[in-house]
Subunit: 209 residues, 4 copies
DNA sequence: GATGAATGAGAATTCATTCAT
DNA sequence: GATGAATGAATTCTCATTCAT
């Protein structure tokens, strides 16, 4: 960060990479791959454009690196200790809440994954689905066991449920749509809690009285 | 389609516009606004590029036109007669089924709306949310009445439910993610029916036994 | 060539292509592929840079097109009527003279082929060797018949001779080296004639008395 | 080669320079000045790029150094004892054989000189022609004396002959062209001997029977 | 209405070179 | 002597858009 007298910055590899990734994430989240500009990334990071190519090979490499970072965070956040004494219903609740809470704090990731999923096929790289599957395999296990033990409906396809939860939450935090339908920001603190509990009950109990 | 002596194609206004819109929709659906290329659209439509500017002003105008067409179809498809003798639960089922069936046949629209929603804010134009709200206001009414009459849980926020349904279905038909998690194409005929009934029961009854 | 009031030039495809090829040839001849600059080509041709990509796809495409043009001219020039009554020695003399004369007027081609031959392997495109072989197959035939009939040494490999002639002439007209060894320009009119006769006798009779 | 505690390589000035020159020669030979990349040179030599600037000032300096090395080897190889009892014809044969043999083992030099000659004018530095003149002045002397004593044709211009020999051999060992015309590699061992004798007789006796 | 050549601004990528340690 | 990050000026290539016919 310190500039010397000639405006040349002295940094180490890691700092520069981190600055670039941070800037890239912000812009990719906002505009997607095609909409983001390399110059803008470099400018936002206040790093010489050339470094992007030195560290990430090209724009696609940068995208992949950003994606990987986000997926790692997602997987990290969604996996975690579960109360072993709790029953399937309670455990499912825990996982859903954790997932919602993570997304509420990281709405950018939702958008990034949405861009990536729309673009899937072009730019093959880290697999979003693999990461999601890994992140939510706990939930998958809970559902499976719950179905077997009769806690959940016998006709459920656990994967279908997992997918449903992912879509429900992703949609919610992708934002704008809800924002305008309700005239408010879904990521606003209080609203998140409300949505979280709604999601839990919706998934567990449906809407019927 | 007949060429005149100078190798020019003779078409009327409507044909040319339709060809362009069709091509544009296909490409916008596939690559989004930033990823699609004007030249590609003209090429795919086999129409002179210049016509795009003549008819739609510019790329943004073309996008808006495509979007409007899709929204109109969406609204048309989701509105429709409901069995007035059916109870709220049955009516909700009908609407959800109709919505799912429409999306199953028009997965492109889902993608287009997803691109648009990710890009929201830039390129102000036809409001997706308005269209959705209009299209699903029947469902909204049904839910509201159902809550009032005790058919549905008393603590429900009807708009939250509508939004949930939209997200659930959009996610499903956006495609790739489900495709790879299940190793199959969610838009494949048989699968659609399965998903439709799953969605109905999931929303109405949740997952608990 | 006529500019309208806004500086936009109206030309047809062929004119523009020709202007670009001419400029490109000049610069490629002078600086080779890696040394030449696209901007410089466009500038020299006074044509918008974009047109190069429209007509030739990219820099490599432009190089290939230039090369092909030159090879075509070379082949054209080296093939031609031969006096059927002349003996092998006279016919060979004719062909060599014709070849030398062509190169003397087109020293650029010699340089272009030299660049290409140094770069061979990268940028696969029109084959210089094929073109040369085609252009000089008359000479090859003359040599073969001459050997068979005893006009030329029995131990000659006609292809080796053809190649030798090519190299001798190419070297001469590539220029600079001779220029500095002799302190004069080998392409200077009078000098060409001298070299031509030297080459003929050198090849036919060698240096021994 | 041993790394010190900070992962730095300890080498002396000469080793590093030699590594760089070797790598540079290889790449310049392959791709010419404009096609070679400083990074590639440093990478191939496994030496820090900065050293190139420390030792050779810049890319041009490196080129000149490489060129000078090659020219020195060329001069060294082409000069040498001649049998004083042999006649001009035999001495010429000796020199030509020696020259061919040297080039056969050092085809890279031929290419380097070709690049340099094509680029002549830009990058003034060591004079190829001077070196060649020095290297082949023996041959020049032999030819001159041979002409005076009647061993060679009286109308010969010795310099023209020297130049012809240079071109003939350079062309041959520049490679690709002969390679493809004959479908084989001209630098292959057996082929070299064949070419050598061909060259000798061609120059001395021409092709006539 | 239709055509296709032309355009300029801009985007990604590359390269030789230098700085601080 | 050695290192590797940093730099800015080029360089190739792209894109939406407009003009003259």
């Amino acid at each position: 960060m310190l500039d010397d007298s000639q405006g040349r910055k002295r940094r180490d590899r890691d700092t520069t990479q981190a600055l670039l990734l941070e800037a890239a994430e912000r812009l990719f989240v906002r505009k997607g791959f095609d909409g983001a500009r390399i110059d803008e990334v470099a400018g936002l990071a206040d790093v010489n454009k050339r470094m992007i190519y030195a560290y990430f090979k090209d724009k696609v490499g940068l995208w992949h690196e950003v994606l990987e970072h986000c997926l790692a965070r997602l997987v990290d956040a969604t996996r975690g200790e579960l109360d072993p004494n709790a029953d399937a219903r309670e455990q499912a609740t825990q996982v859903i809440r954790r997932y919602v809470d993570f997304l509420a704090v990281n709405p950018g990731i939702v958008r990034l994954l949405a861009w990536e999923s729309l673009n899937d096929g072009r730019r093959p790289g880290p697999r979003v689905d693999d990461a999601l599957a890994r992140g939510l395999e706990d939930l998958h296990g809970i559902l499976k066991r719950g179905v077997e033990r009769g806690t959940f409906r016998a006709d459920l396809d656990p994967q279908l449920i997992v997918l449903g939860i992912v879509h429900l939450c992703s949609g919610w935090f992708r934002g704008r749509l809800g924002a305008s339908l309700f005239g408010e920001d879904p990521t606003r603190p209080g609203r998140t809690k409300q949505f979280r509990e709604h999601a839990v009950r919706m998934i567990l109990d449906g809407i019927s009285a």
